[in-house]
């Protein structure tokens, strides 16, 4: 096994998968449900994400968005329902297996490895494809040396692509907040995902940083031929870059469509601004 994080590999995988006239969606959930005790956090959630899409998942706090992400990435076991990734069911797999299949993710509150360097953070994402076993590491043979050098060089080049090279020897916890977000996204990409789940990438960013983040997301999608699904509260970001937007409230899908569809949906306005606001905007639009 080799490190298959080169942009070329990812691109090829994308081309072969979209060969059919009716391409398999990258991600499909069917009637996905999660209950915590009596609380139904997510109820019969259906979602299809096609190859190469940049889709958004929005909704008020507590709508169940992160729960959906946790079920897709295997951190939560769904109470009911199915998740298909590239046509194959993934419910019941361990989170690390799902990552190795090609679903990368970031977290709402950044989860870097704080006391390790930025370079090590990226190297850890390469571990499943390290190409040598513990035994090779113990005897330090030529294979170990070659693979280790290859990994390190690749990780450095990888950081250079994101302009993070100068931070490579810094401990992750010492980076500024915005840079930590970028490192977290870079690290998720290092695990060679086909589908990237971004959980509130713009949280805590100012308008200027959000502008940069939007460019960044476009850049990584085109550069790595990714499919991206993101959760976001920042409407400016979602409305600007997402193609299909799914709106959730109280665990249910209440609307779906393009940015303009969703913006004019009375249910969405009601969920975000309350019933009165929905009535007023309704009056204005008629």
């Amino acid at each position: 096994m080799t490190l298959d994080t080169t942009p070329k590999d990812t691109a090829q995988a994308g081309v072969t998968a979209s060969g059919d006239s009716q391409p398999t969606p990258v991600l499909a959930t069917r009637r996905l449900t999660k209950t915590f005790g009596g609380l139904r956090a997510v109820n019969k959630f259906d979602l299809t994400v096609r190859e190469g899409a940049l889709d958004g998942l929005i909704g008020p706090n507590g709508a169940g968005k992160t729960t959906v992400f946790n079920m897709i990435s295997g951190l939560y076991a769904p109470t009911a329902g199915e998740v298909d990734f590239l046509g194959a069911p993934i419910v019941g797999l361990e989170p690390f297996e799902i990552t190795q299949l090609g679903i990368g993710r970031t977290f709402q509150n950044i989860r870097l490895f704080p006391n390790l360097t930025v370079l090590t953070n990226v190297l850890i994402a390469y571990h499943p494809h390290a190409g040598y076993s513990l035994f090779h590491g113990l005897i330090r043979n030529a294979r170990f040396d070659a693979k280790e050098r290859e990994m390190t060089e690749r990780a450095r080049d990888f950081l250079a692509i994101f302009g993070l090279e100068r931070y490579q020897s810094e401990l992750a916890k010492n980076l500024p907040y915005g840079e930590q977000r970028r490192v977290e996204i870079a690290r998720a990409l290092a695990s060679a995902p086909k589908l990237l789940l971004l959980d509130e990438p713009a949280a805590g960013m100012n308008p200027y940083e959000i502008g940069r983040l939007m460019d960044y997301i476009h850049f990584i999608r085109d550069r790595f031929k990714l499919t991206i699904l993101l959760i976001e509260h920042q409407m400016r970001l979602v409305m600007n870059i997402c193609e299909q937007i799914t709106v959730m409230d109280f665990g249910e899908v209440i609307a779906r469509g393009t940015a303009s569809d969703v913006q004019n949906d009375s249910k969405v306005i009601e969920a975000y601004l309350g019933r009165g606001a929905a009535a007023r905007t309704g009056l204005r639009s008629h």
Binding site: T99, H127, G137
Partner: protein
């Protein structure tokens, strides 16, 4: 009751010499040239051998200091193992002392029986360890076929396999042992395989078996228990230590090992007076090399990532359960070997030595030296032995028979002060020579990076 300033100065000088010796050894090991490495290690062993040669009345390394040195080696093995489990993998364990005890009693039983004309100890234990290892390997393959098997079902399979493998070992070992009986002779008339040279080989095998046995027990124990969160895991390992000690106290009643003599303590373990320092240093050296090579490999990074953030590690494709178990098993292996060496230095094992309260010592050592610092652990273990057991015991002993008890007031205060002044431990992240993170390969020249970026942009 007079304060002996001369002794104090000499003792401090000794600690400095020992630390300088370790620093030199690690520096030489870290040298890029293979010749320097091998030469350095041979020289390191030669220095001790020379220091042990008596010149008339004078001996550079007197018996007392030699004892401290050997105990420091065993303590370092245990503490390095614990540092792997707690310092690098982040699993707070109080069970390390139990594995140390398992290793000590296992190895002691093998050599004790051997010198008393009974080969069953070596045969049964050796077979059992091999068969259990094979069984674990096979069951692990089986478990992989049935994806998503609950941990407790896996545990049951492993446990049943262990019982079967153990039973086979006992039966076969007892069948084969009569072949060896005439070769071992009796204690008054030892046979051809019962001499000082054969004993070295038996000890080497016993130490490896003891380490492997401790590792296998830790695998069986860790498999279900490591799924618990860190605090609960700590409590469970504390329970493990207590179980091990209870079994030791009752080894002659509820366990079929009358030679261990339960709470009275096991006497008559062959002491390898002349060679044990060599074994202690050899095993310590091997353990240091294994630990360092492991930490600075992809597996080591995966183990460390589990400490940093379990959920993020899972999201990076790291098999968290596997890496927790791996660190735990290898840490216990180190402790088991340490126990085997200790038993053959001291020649007497008492369950009191393996009390879980004493088991806090390696924990204090790794915190003192710095969690996640291998150098810190090594320096703190040696410093601990020479300071507490060497300097303070003798120094305070001169001030009255009860005075050495003050050690246990002085060292918590020292620890408290250290935690206030230097919470990252004495050495923090500093590593010496060989234990430094190897320099990563040189950055490919700028053009190469540009090429990659350019080809990526297409």
């Amino acid at each position: 009751m007079d304060f002996n300033l001369g002794f104090l100065l000499i003792s401090i000088f000794k600690i400095a010499i020992v630390l300088a010796y370790l620093y030199g050894l690690l520096t030489v090991l870290g040298h890029p040239s293979k010749k320097v490495k091998i030469g350095g290690v041979i020289a390191a062993f030669a220095i001790i051998q020379i220091a042990l040669v008596p010149f008339g009345e004078f001996q550079v390394l007197a018996d007392f200091d030699k004892g401290l040195l050997i105990q420091a080696c065993t303590m370092t093995m245990v503490a390095l193992g614990l540092n792997l489990i707690y310092g690098f993998n982040g699993q707070f364990s109080l069970g390390q002392w139990g594995f140390y005890g398992i290793g000590a009693y296992t190895a002691a039983d093998i050599t004790y029986r051997w010198t008393n004309g009974d080969a069953r100890g070596l045969l049964v234990a050796g077979l059992a360890v091999t068969l259990i290892g094979l069984m674990i390997w096979l069951v692990a393959k089986l478990v992989r076929v049935f994806k998503g098997m609950p941990v407790l079902s896996q545990f049951t399979l492993y446990l049943m396999g262990t019982i079967v493998a153990g039973a086979i070992a006992v039966v076969v070992g007892n069948l084969v042992s009569p072949v060896f009986t005439p070769l071992l002779g009796t204690i008054s008339a030892p046979g051809p395989l019962n001499n000082i040279v054969a004993l070295q080989i038996v000890f080497l095998l016993a130490a490896l078996i003891a380490g492997a046995f401790a590792a296998e027990v830790s695998f069986l124990f860790g498999l279900p228990v490591l799924t618990l969160g860190s605090d609960y895991f700590g409590i469970a390992t504390l329970g493990f230590s207590i179980v091990v000690q209870t079994l030791m106290v009752n080894s002659d009643t509820i366990l079929p090992f009358p030679e261990m003599k339960g709470g009275r303590g096991m006497i008559g373990i062959p002491k390898l007076d002349a060679t044990i320092w060599f074994w202690a240093f050899l095993f310590l050296l091997l353990i240091i090399i294994v630990m360092r090579n492991m930490i600075y490999s992809s597996t080591g990074r995966a183990i460390t990532s589990v400490r940093e953030d379990e959920i993020a590690a899972k999201a990076m494709g790291i098999d968290v359960a596997y890496h927790k178990l791996l660190a735990f098993v290898i840490g216990s292996l180190f402790a088991g070997i340490g126990g085997a060496v200790y038993a053959h230095y001291i020649g007497f094992l008492s369950p009191g030595t393996f009390d879980f309260l004493v088991g806090f010592n390696p924990l204090i050592i790794i915190v003192f030296g710095g969690l996640g610092s291998m150098t810190g652990t090594i320096a703190a273990s040696f410093g601990w032995m020479f300071f507490l057991e060497g300097l303070l015991r003798v120094l305070l002993g001169q001030m009255g028979t009860e005075a050495p008890t003050w050690r246990f007031v002085l060292y918590p205060i020292t620890l408290l002060l250290l935690m206030l002044v230097r919470p990252q431990g004495l050495l923090g992240n500093v590593e010496w020579g060989f234990l430094k993170r190897p320099a990563s390969p040189a950055r490919p020249d700028r053009n190469a990076a540009v090429d990659v970026a350019a080809s990526a942009g297409q």
